[in-house]
Point group: C2
Chain length 200, copies 2
DNA sequence: CCGCTCATGTAACTGGTTACATGATTTA
DNA sequence: TAAATCATGTAACCAGTTACATGAGCGG
């Protein structure tokens, strides 16, 4: 079966480094994103990273300890991060900073050029469900759009709340929040079209 | 660490069925989506499902055989699908159809009520990268937005191409395509804002 | 002193990925 | 007849998930 035209996002392919040691391993989206967070807010700890991921409206990752701690260890082994242990009273703590190699890999991930997994139609679970609205009894469909509208409003509220917590930070971070809002508006507009299709 | 307010999408939690046999196992997004595809286009084969996933602009999944074949087997074991082997000449073929139990689980997945993973800010790898534009030398940022704009145009073209292939099909499927277009428009508008921020 | 949050990790598991194997059918 | 596609599957692997363990510090 030939491969499709739309590349899959997120997964890291097999490590070619075992065969060609000087070839950089392709990183997963989460790895690269965390690398960016360490660049932006470092020096920081695994716990700090988890808190940032958790606070963010992006629901792609759970920010679970089982993901983040080994991930930072991997990035340190690969030389993209430099970690150091420190003691705060009786408390051990491990802080990470980005290395020059890490920064160059971060820049390569950001682009340009954009990797082929960087641009795609974003996955939206609401859209997936809407695709099968025909499977619902016709009488239930209006209730679905109502529920979807309410849920979108709720998400919008949370995004606005979150955007207030990042006042005065990096202008690009703010623009990203703005994108979340624009996206939600587009989805709300689409829901309106969907409602009128159902009433017909 | 307390759990965040934004639930993670896509993963299926541990099977509670081993403890309470009458409790339905929570399905992953892919499982539910494929269930929907079988409902919509069934009776169909694993290969047919793969082709549909591959043709679709959604890049969440690779439609790999290693994902789809075991998935259909799982759904059949769970009683959501009914499969039957048939022979076309010398060729064996396995076709699946949705069962009444499968349809009720599909409806439960669609909602209402919407599950807490159904509505979220969609994950967008382009947005993730934009968040860290500050890590690029200032002179490279305009090139990034140019590349992003070109890539979005390209995706838009492919989505329009795809939407032409589904002429005359289910109206909800068409609306879903429409949503993809609206989303891309919103992202293009956002890029414009981003460009003016960078020129400043 | 109890419970909550801070903080660092490990262990078991699993869904989906890449890669491979096999053979039938169609097309150049 | 060679190459491409149709079609069904399996095997090894791995990133990220859930769940657990451990202990420090802190407020009531």
């Amino acid at each position: 079966m030939p491969t499709g035209v739309f590349p899959v996002v997120g997964r890291a392919p097999r490590d070619p480094g075992s065969l060609c040691p000087d070839m950089a391993k392709r990183r997963s989206e989460l790895e690269s994103f965390v690398l960016g967070l360490v660049w932006q807010t470092g020096p920081t700890s695994a716990y700090g990273i988890r808190r940032q991921l958790q606070a963010s409206p992006s629901t792609q990752w759970s920010a679970s300890a089982g993901a983040i701690y080994p991930l930072l260890q991997r990035l340190e082994r690969a030389g993209l991060l430099k970690g150091r242990a420190l003691k705060h009273g009786k408390r051990r703590r491990r802080e990470y900073e980005i290395t020059p190699l890490g920064l160059s890999e971060l820049r390569a991930w950001i682009g340009p050029p954009l990797g082929d997994t960087a641009v795609s139609v974003a996955y939206d679970p609401l859209r997936s469900r809407a695709r099968f609205l025909g499977a619902l009894p016709a009488g239930d469909r209006a209730a679905w759009t109502d529920a979807a509208g309410a849920a979108l409003d709720e998400v919008g509220r949370r995004v606005r709340e979150w955007s207030e917590t990042i006042e005065g930070e990096d202008p690009f971070l703010k623009l990203v929040t703005r994108q979340g809002e624009l996206e939600l508006q587009a989805r709300a507009a689409w829901l309106t079209e969907l409602k009128s299709l159902i009433r017909k």
